[in-house]
Each structure stands twice: as C-alpha cells, then as structure tokens.
Symmetry: C2
C-alpha cells in the first residue's frame, strides 16, 4: 500500500463481440489481456450517454419527476433526464428533455459535473446540469412515457433524500451538489 | 401537472426470458402490459446487489481505491465496494470487502443509505456504509483484482470531486454524505 503511485492496470482488448442487441441494450463480451499477462473476460453494456437536469422553478422549489422503473418493479422520484441522441450536444439534449418531460424552458444553464453510474458493467456517462429561470411552455411527452411532474420545495426534496424516499443516484448527486452551491452562493 | 397525485404507472409482466447469461451479467427481456393497456418490451440486467464503504482511517483521512474499469477504458478513483454473495448480510459483505480490498477491519459501522445506480436497465441496489476505528490486518485480494489502496485527506478527496477527478457515482454520494455528517456532528 502506497500513496499515489499511479500503477498501470490497463486491460488490452484481444477480441470483442456483441452477445445481445435489443431495442435498448447493447451487450458486449470482450477477451482482454490483464496486467499480469493472463487473459480475462469482460461483459458490459454500451450506452449512448445521458443528461440530467436540476431545474429550479424559483430559488426554493425544484421540479421532480416520478415514474415506474420496471427493473426494480417500483416507482421512483427522480430529476428530469434522458439519453443523448447520436451526434447531439449534451446541452441540447438537456434543453430537449426539460421541455419534453416537464414542459419548461430555462434561461440559465450551468454544467455541474460528468458522472459515471455503473462503471463495473456499463460505459454510461451522465452530464449533470443546473437550470434556472424556468418558463412553462407546455409538454410533449413521448409515447409510452408515463411521467408525473412535481414541484417540490428544495428543503423537502433534501428531506426525502434523508428519509430514503429518493434513492436514485443521479438525482441524489444533483440535489447534494445544488445544496452545496446554494450554501456557497447564498441563493 | 399536479403535485403528489401519486398516479399508478405499474407495468405488469406478461412474459420474461433470459437473453444473455455470462459470468458476470444476466440480461432479461420481458414483455409488459403498460398503464394504457398496450404492450411494451423491457430489457434489463439482474444484479445481486452491492455494498460500498466510506472508511475513515482517522477523522480527516479516507481510504480510496484506484482501479481500471474496462467498460470505460480508464482508471477510476473509487471507495471500496463489492457484490453481495447469495444469502449474505450486506454488513458482512462490507466487512469482507474492506478487509479483502484494503486490509482493514473497522470498529464502528453505520449504514448511510440504500441507493439505486442504474434504474433504467438494472435492478442493482447498493448499501452504503460509513466505517470508523480502522485497524490494519493485512490484505487478501482476490485473483484478478488489480487495486491500488490510497490514503487521502478528506478535504483533498472533496477537491478531487470538485475537480472532476472522482466521477463514480457511489463514491461521490458517499463522500458528499460523509461531508454532511462531518459538518453536522463536528468530527
């Protein structure tokens, strides 16, 4: 055990094949050369990337969404989010998702952070944005999107986090970062 | 748009089949009945669940790990973590992983939160723990685990988070929660 020796554990691709391609998921199985020279197998999902928005209606009210997430067979409280289309700028995706899911346009946009939700078995990255100065412009939800839009006092959203009512990781990070920024900048 | 009407968007399983079963990943494809009566397809990964530990060596130093994550083809700074074995209590997993990955036993354990990293396409849940009162007892890394163990001042870990050097979601949440607790309890 040493501090910051920055060892090189790079795994080199020997072969790669698609083992499942659905409408949503693309799963690959690669053979790799491990750092000790042995070979290993890596199974993972290829993802186009996503965005998430922390939208403030005013300085103390945030817009949440609630939807059913089939893999866990339950509803979740989340923040508006969506996948990046091929070639799309992440900020364009963010503007589109905020309008399509929640019916808002925002005047002020700020990139908060790039995060990686599932590095053990997915290459997904998520760009997190803070949106302020919202104007309601109506909604145009995609077919098959069953989403409830909620206006929640920011303090209450933080209570929901503490109580375990919000457990989805990117929403948690967005709310905790917004809390830090609000504290630092005294909104 | 209304507040807290708590609509029921439950999707009911019509059929379910395994479309890929590797050494790590189990991928399913289900046909579901959507809330509007139409049918839809859901593709997702079944995961055994995981734990992560925020281990404090002393009140201002945290133990991080650094490893290569093949899906993203780069090294990541993380906190010690691992998958729950079948039938294993999550706290037992956490004690095991802290010992196996980093060589530490901890006197004080505190459950911080249950989080869901990837609700769009995985049923994974992660139990987050805070561990204090560490004693070094040596390591016993699994074969094929290439991991660097680092002692990092907690303030520096928070700087790494701000600088985008730490982007893995559960590590971010663990550090942000530890910061809140440290502030509230004045460690």
């Amino acid at each position: 055990m040493t501090d910051c020796k920055e060892a090189d554990f790079t795994e080199h691709t020997l072969s790669s094949k698609t083992v499942y391609r659905g409408n949503l998921l693309h799963v690959l199985e690669d053979e790799v050369r491990l750092p000790d020279g042995k070979t290993g197998r890596r199974e993972y999902v290829r993802h186009p990337g996503a965005v998430m928005i922390v939208p403030f209606i005013n300085h103390d009210t945030v817009v949440l969404v609630r939807q059913y997430r089939y893999p866990l067979r339950r509803h979740f409280y989340e923040l508006p989010a969506g996948k990046i289309d091929p070639g799309e700028e992440p900020l364009v995706t963010a503007r589109r998702e905020l309008r399509e899911e929640c019916g808002y346009e925002a005047e002020h946009w700020r990139h908060l952070m790039t995060v990686h939700p599932c590095i053990g078995y997915s290459d997904e990255r998520i760009e997190l944005y803070l949106a302020r100065g919202l104007a309601h412009v109506g909604t145009a939800l995609d077919d098959e999107e069953f989403i409830e839009v909620l206006h929640v006092p920011f303090r209450e959203a933080l209570d929901w986090l503490r109580q375990g009512r919000i457990t989805e990781v990117k929403a948690l990070i967005g709310l905790l970062l917004a809390e830090r920024i609000a504290a630092a900048e005294a909104w």
